[in-house]
Amino acid sequence: MTLLIEQTLNGIQLGLLMFLLAAGLTLVFGIMDLVNLAHGSLYMFGAYFCASFTAWTDSFVIGALLALPAALLLGVIVEVVVARKLYRRDHLDHVLATFGLILIANDLVRLVWGPDGRRIPLPAWLNQPIYLTPDLPYPTYRFAVIVVGAAVALFLYWLVTRTRTGMWIRAGASNRTMIGALGINVELLFTLVFGLGAVLAALAGLMAAPIVTVSIGMGDNILILAFVIIVIGGIGSIKGAFIAAMIVGMIDTLGRALLPDLLKTFLSVAAANTAAPALSSMMIYLLMAGVLVWRSTGLFGARG
C-alpha cells in the first residue's frame, strides 16, 4: 500500500517535471504557432548556465536565478536573428531552420563547456529525503519540482487566458497582419513571448538538471516527449498540456512499477521480463496513438 502511494507521488512528480518541459513549448508552439525544435536546446542552455553559475556562486538557488535572465537574453537573440523571419512561413521551414539551430547549439555547448557533462549538486536542505511516514522517505527536491511546476502552470494559464497580452499572442499567431492593423506591435510582442518561452525552457532545464544531469543533447530526446504531451493535451490548451503531462507521468510510472507483475500473471516469467520493458518504452506512444485515433485533436484541442 505504501508502495502504491509512493508510486502515485512519483507519477505526479514525473508528470509535473514533464509539464515543465512542455510548458515553454505550449507557449511557443501551441500558442505562437512556431515549431521550435531548438526548444530542447534552450532547455540545455538553461541547464548549462545554471551549472556554471552554481559552480561560480556555490549556490544552486542563486545559480538558477542568474540562469533565467541569461536565457531570456539568449532567447531574444535567437528570435531577432532567426525566429522572427519564420512566423509567416510554413511549419516545415520552421523545422528545417530550428533543426539547424539544434546542430549549432550542441556544438556551441561543446565548444564552450567541453564534451563532459555536469552534475549540479543540490544544497543540503534540498538533497535529503523527507520522511512522509517513518518508512516512506521522499526526496525534498521532488517537492520543489512539484511546487515550481504547479506555479508555472497557473502563471501560464493566467497569462494566456486572462490577460490582454495573452489575447494578443493568440490573435497574432492566427493573423499577424490584422493584429498589427489594430495598433499592436507584434514584432516586439513576439520577441518577448519567445524570450519568455526561452526562460520557461531554461527553467525546465535547470529544474531537471539535478535529477537528470547536464549533458550535450539532453534536450533532443526530451523534445519529442514534450511534443507528445502537448499533442495529447490538444495544441494550444494549457489545461490540456497539464492534464496530459499528469496522465503520461502516471501511466509511465505505474506502468513501470506494475507492468512486469501484471504480465507475469498470464505470461511466463522470461517472456514477461522481455515484454515488460519493451511495452513500457512504447507506453507513451501507444497512449498518444490511442488518444489521437479516438479524438483527432487531442484531449482539449480545437485546431489542427
Binding site: 515549431v35 532567426v82 523571419k85 519564420l86 512561413r89 511549419h91 516545415l92 521551414d93 523545422v95 528545417l96 531552420a97 533543426f99 539547424g100 539551430l101 539544434i102 546542430l103 549549432i104 550542441n106 556544438d107 556551441l108 561543446r110 565548444l111 519529442i224 511534443f227 507528445v228 499533442v231 495544441i235 522481455t274 515484454a275 519493451a278 518504452s281 512504447m282 506512444y285 501507444l286 498518444m288 496513438a289 489521437l292 485515433v293 483527432s296 485533436t297 487531442g298 484541442g301 485546431r303 489542427g304
Partner: protein, 358 residues
C-alpha cells in the same frame, strides 16, 4: 521518358539534366577521378550509392509531403521494414531478390495502409505525431527482436541474389549495385512525375491546398491521400531493401525518428513539391555531412596561412589548434540550413529558378 526533364531551354532544366548525366556516368569516370587523386573509385561509388538510395526514400516522402501536404514523421519506418524483410530472409537463407524485393515492397505498402488508415483522420501536427508514434512502436519492436540482434542489429552475409545477374565481389559488385540504384532512382522519379501530373496528382495536390473545397467538388479526399500514402510507403520500402543490401547490415537505428527527421530535412532543404528537390536535398545533406569537415579544414588552413602571414604566426595560435575547430563543423551545417530557409525559399531547387506555376 519524355517530360521527365523540365525543358532544356531553362537553366533549371539544364542543371537537372547535367546532374543526372553526371550521376549516371559516374561508374565510367570514377577511375579517372581516382587516378587524379580526387577521390577513390570505390569510395565515390559506395558513397553515392547511399546518396541515391536515400534520395529514393526522400522522393517517396516528397510525394506525400510536398504534393500531398502529409508530413510523415515516421517515414523511415518503411526503410526499416524493407531492410528487415531482406535481412531476416537472408538470415534464414532466402537470398532470392525476386522474392525479397516484392515482399519488402508489399509489406511496406501494407504497413503504410494500416498507418495511413489510422493517421489520415488527423491533420497537421497531430498527423505528424501520430505517424511518429507508429514508427516508434515499430522501432521498439525492432529493438525487442532479440533473435535478430535487438538494437545491435543483424549483419547480412550475402546480398540479394537476382538470378546471379549481379556480381558478388570486389569492384564489380560496387559498380553493379550503383547502376542498379541509379536506374531505380530514375524509374521512381519518372513514376512520381507521371503520378503528380496525372489526374490523381491534381486531386492529391488540390487536397493539400484546400481539402474542404475538394470534398465540396466531390473528391473523396481520404482515398487519394491514403493511396498516395501507400505508394510512398511502398517506394520507401524499396529504398529500404536497397539500403540493407548496400550496408549489408540492418538495425532498428534505420527507423529511428531522427532518420525520419533527416528525410524531412532532405526534402525541405532540396525543395518540397518539386520533382528533383529531394534529390538535390539528399545530395546536399549527405555530402555536406561527409565533406564539410574536410572542407572546413581546407578553409581554416588557408585562413591561418593568410592571417599568420599578416600578423605573424605566434599571435594567432598553431594551425593544429585551428584545425581542431573543424570538429565543430555542425555549426557550419546548421548555419547553412538556416540560410537556405531564410534566403532560398523553396529550398535548393529554387536557386535554379522557379518552375512555372505548379
Amino acid at each position: 521518358m519524355a517530360g521527365l526533364l523540365t525543358p532544356l531551354t531553362t537553366w533549371r532544366g539544364r542543371i537537372t539534366a547535367l546532374l543526372l548525366v553526371l550521376l549516371g556516368l559516374l561508374p565510367w569516370y570514377a577511375p579517372w577521378l581516382d587516378a587524379a587523386g580526387i577521390i577513390s573509385q570505390k569510395f565515390a561509388l559506395t558513397l553515392m550509392t547511399r546518396v541515391l538510395i536515400l534520395a529514393i526514400a526522400a522522393v517517396s516522402l516528397n510525394l506525400i509531403l510536398g504534393y500531398g501536404g502529409m508530413v510523415s514523421f515516421g517515414h523511415a519506418v518503411y526503410i526499416g521494414l524493407g531492410g528487415y524483410t531482406v535481412g531476416i530472409m537472408a538470415h534464414h537463407g532466402v537470398q532470392d531478390g525476386f522474392l525479397q524485393f516484392p515482399l519488402a515492397i508489399g509489406l511496406s505498402a501494407l504497413l503504410a495502409l494500416a498507418i495511413g488508415a489510422l493517421s489520415l483522420r488527423t491533420r497537421g501536427v497531430y498527423f505528424i505525431m501520430l505517424t511518429l508514434a507508429f514508427a516508434q512502436l515499430l522501432y521498439y519492436v525492432g529493438v525487442g527482436l532479440e533473435a535478430y540482434g535487438g538494437d545491435d542489429g543483424l549483419t547480412i552475409n550475402r546480398r540479394s541474389d537476382f538470378a546471379g545477374l549481379l556480381p558478388t565481389r570486389g569492384l564489380d559488385k560496387i559498380v553493379a549495385f550503383y547502376i542498379v540504384s541509379f536506374v531505380v532512382l530514375v524509374l521512381v522519379l519518372w513514376l512520381v512525375h507521371r503520378l503528380v501530373n496525372a489526374r490523381f496528382g491534381m486531386a492529391l495536390r488540390g487536397t493539400k491546398s484546400n481539402e474542404t473545397r475538394m470534398q465540396a467538388l466531390g473528391f473523396a479526399t481520404f482515398h487519394y491521400r491514403l493511396a498516395a500514402f501507400v505508394i510512398a510507403g511502398a517506394i520507401c520500402g524499396l529504398a529500404g531493401a536497397l539500403l540493407a543490401n548496400h550496408t549489408e547490415f540492418i538495425s532498428p537505428a534505420m527507423m529511428h525518428w531522427t532518420r525520419s527527421g533527416d528525410l524531412i530535412v532532405m526534402v525541405v532543404l532540396g525543395g518540397m513539391g518539386s520533382l528533383f528537390g529531394p534529390l538535390y536535398g539528399a545530395i546536399a545533406f549527405l555530402l555536406l555531412e561527409e565533406f564539410l569537415p574536410s572542407l572546413l579544414r581546407l578553409v581554416l588552413t588557408w585562413l591561418h596561412g593568410g592571417i599568420s602571414a599578416v600578423l605573424g604566426g605566434a599571435a594567432i595560435g598553431t594551425l593544429d589548434a585551428w584545425l581542431r575547430l573543424a570538429e565543430y563543423w555542425q555549426i557550419a551545417l546548421g548555419t547553412i540550413m538556416i540560410l537556405v530557409v531564410l534566403y532560398a525559399r523553396g529550398g535548393i531547387d529554387s536557386l535554379f529558378g522557379r518552375p512555372r506555376h505548379g
